[in-house]
């Protein structure tokens, strides 16, 4: 995975919005809460200033405004950090967007501990849990630039509420933009292997791919599965992997409570009980530090995935 291009999925978001608007998405409007420079909706604002509404530092109102705009036939993308979108405005998303099932897209950047130096107050590791629990909510967590741009466009095309988690940190681009196709609700098998299935989301997919490469050198053949759609989960690809590999590891930059790991665990325990290890943030708050160092420290690295895989396969 060395020498590859790195792009933060928040940048992909800003660029995808511009691409959408340039290609006939006339009903697209973008909302931000004083974070346009960080969420990268500033890119859109530059190109389409009249379609970018700053709501000030008032995320709860922003979500309600987005709900109102959607009832007028517009497709609003409301943007903030994951902490303040999914966290602070949870109840607005639940009651003003989820309950009426309105066509609002919530684009939450700065998900996970890779926010880095800002520390725990800004490192949201609870958003999958919060958003998954809302009936009818689609939850997306793209893994690289190519997938993030595709996911934003798919969210626009989809009728209904969507939560998209994006990252601050520049991460490897491993999808081929030319051949890649994205579909909400479909997982993606990235490597072949039957010794262990590594089901990952977000920036952990690239780590899982690196881990699989290294594990292969030891003769352990891992099947890496990329789950962009946390909800609705692609049960088919999960069950197939469990049946064929017999051992499953989940990887996410999220609390091990309530995220991808538990979603997979629920499917497996009901339909195909399988040995499972969950890699994620172990029910603790993050802290300040460089993103790369934090990821390593919290076990969100290829090395840790490899260690867990070795233990699971050989143990």
């Amino acid at each position: 995975m060395s020498e590859v291009k790195k792009i933060a999925t928040r940048d992909s978001y800003g660029n995808a919005l511009v691409e959408l608007a340039q290609n006939g998405a006339d009903d697209l409007v973008v909302l931000d809460a004083d974070l346009a420079a960080a969420t990268k909706t500033g890119t859109f604002k530059k190109a389409f200033p009249e379609r970018h509404f700053n709501c000030g530092i008032a995320e709860c109102n922003m979500i309600g405004v987005a709900a109102g705009l959607s009832t007028m036939g517009l497709v609003p993308f409301a943007s903030s950090f994951a902490m303040f979108a999914a966290g602070r405005a949870f109840e607005q998303i639940r009651n003003s967007v989820g309950y009426p099932h309105l066509n609002v897209k919530i684009a939450a950047t700065h998900g996970g501990i890779s926010v880095g130096e800002d520390g725990a107050s800004h490192q949201c590791c609870e958003d999958f849990a919060l958003m998954r629990s809302i009936p009818g909510m689609t939850v997306l967590s793209p893994s690289d630039d190519v997938e993030a741009r595709a996911a934003v466009k798919a969210a626009y095309a989809y009728e209904g509420p969507v939560y998209i988690r994006l990252g601050r940190l520049a991460t490897p681009v491993f999808h081929d933009a030319q051949s890649y196709t994205f579909q909400i609700g479909k997982g993606e098998q990235l490597t072949d292997g039957n010794d262990v299935a590594i089901i990952a989301t977000g920036l952990m997919v690239a780590e899982a791919l690196t881990a699989a490469e290294n594990l292969a050198k030891e003769g352990i053949h891992a099947r890496v599965i990329n789950i962009c759609t946390i909800k609705p989960l692609d049960e088919e690809i999960v069950l197939k992997a469990a049946k064929e590999c017999g051992k499953v590891i989940t990887c996410e930059e999220h609390n091990i409570i309530g995220g991808l790991g538990e979603a997979v665990a629920a499917v497996l325990s009901e339909k195909c009980p399988t040995k499972l290890r969950r890699i994620g943030v172990n029910d603790e708050f993050g802290h300040s530090g460089p993103a790369a160092a934090l990821l390593k420290q919290f076990g969100l690295s290829a090395e840790h995935v490899e260690a867990v895989a070795r233990e699971l396969v050989k143990g």
Binding site: F53, G56, C60, V65, L69, L74, Q92, Y99, P100
Partner: protein
């Protein structure tokens, strides 16, 4: 210099209220009050107090102010109304039913299992409801979004929202007011029902929000204080809204909670309690007597 942003097809669209029109509105308001009693009695639950305080406003909105068509409740060009104080759904439902959005006979199914008349307004089940509300402080944000959307789309759509005086303790209300003023949403009209009571007691004791007029003015609103049971004053307030450009309007409507049913008036206990059979009978007798008086007045 204020920017002229209003399209405003409302302006001058109606002649002033005649005595005959006023009498008709009073009858409509009396019907709304009967609907509130019928539905909360049928539900054995619900919120009659704040529904009755706003009954005159509901009657005015749905029979004079809003440009709506019960036959085409989703008309994109219609005016919007968002009941931010969603618990007073009985008042809204009664106004909608008597305006022809759905059968009046359905009102007593309020809150029943499998009824489309949910305890709090549901835009996906009740014809004429423009936004699902119930969690206080949220409706006003959606209404502000609708008003912003209408402006962005250059549509002549006015958006109205009704809040309770207890509700305005929610911080989101003031976030929404900042937004409405910042974007000069002169097609946005918020009404605050100042009936002075909320669940835990008098609003001035639970959490004093006064002086609301000065606060709304400081937040950039045209602010008008009226008696919410006087149709002349209600009309004047909406005329001022139609005439105002460059800023949103806030109508402070002084009312009596439980208005129109003697034993419910100004009683905090009637915020969220349904009348039993005996109370129902007495309330309906009073309202029928009031209606008979209005009928005799012609």
């Amino acid at each position: 210099m204020q920017e002229k942003t209003k399209i405003n097809g409302n302006k001058g669209r109606c002649v002033s209220l005649t005595e005959e029109m006023k009498l008709a509105l009073k009858k409509k308001a009396c019907q709304v009050r009967m609907g509130v009693i019928e539905s909360t009695h049928g539900a054995k639950a619900g919120h009659p107090g704040g529904s009755l305080s706003a009954a005159d406003l509901f009657a005015y909105l749905y029979n004079r102010e809003l440009r709506i068509d019960p036959k085409n409740p989703k008309d994109p060009k219609r005016d919007r109304f968002v009941l931010s104080k969603g618990h007073t759904a009985p008042g809204l439902y009664a106004a909608l039913a008597y305006r022809g959005f759905f059968p009046v006979e359905d009102l007593p199914t309020l809150r029943h299992i499998d009824s489309y008349l949910q305890g709090h307004p549901n835009m996906n089940t009740v014809p004429g409801v423009d936004m699902s509300t119930g969690s206080l402080g949220q409706g006003i944000s959606a209404a502000a979004g609708m008003a912003k959307g209408a402006k962005y789309l250059h549509q002549d759509v006015n958006v109205y929202t009704l809040l309770g005086d207890g509700e305005i303790a929610e911080g989101e209300v003031w976030e929404a007011m900042l937004f409405a003023a910042h974007y000069k949403l002169d097609n946005f009209c918020m009404v605050i029902d100042l009936n002075g009571l909320q669940i835990d007691g008098r609003t001035c004791d639970v959490m004093n929000t006064a002086p609301v007029d000065e606060k709304a003015k400081a937040f950039g609103f045209q602010t008008i204080s009226i008696d919410g049971h006087d149709f002349d004053q209600i009309e004047k307030a909406f005329e001022a809204f139609h005439a105002c450009t460059g800023k949103p309007t806030c109508i402070l409507m002084h009312t009596t909670k439980g208005k129109g049913v003697s034993f419910m008036e100004n009683q905090v206990g009637w915020h969220g309690k349904a009348p039993n059979d005996e109370e129902y009978k007495q309330a309906m007798e009073e309202l029928h007597a009031a209606m008979a008086e209005l009928e005799a007045a012609k």
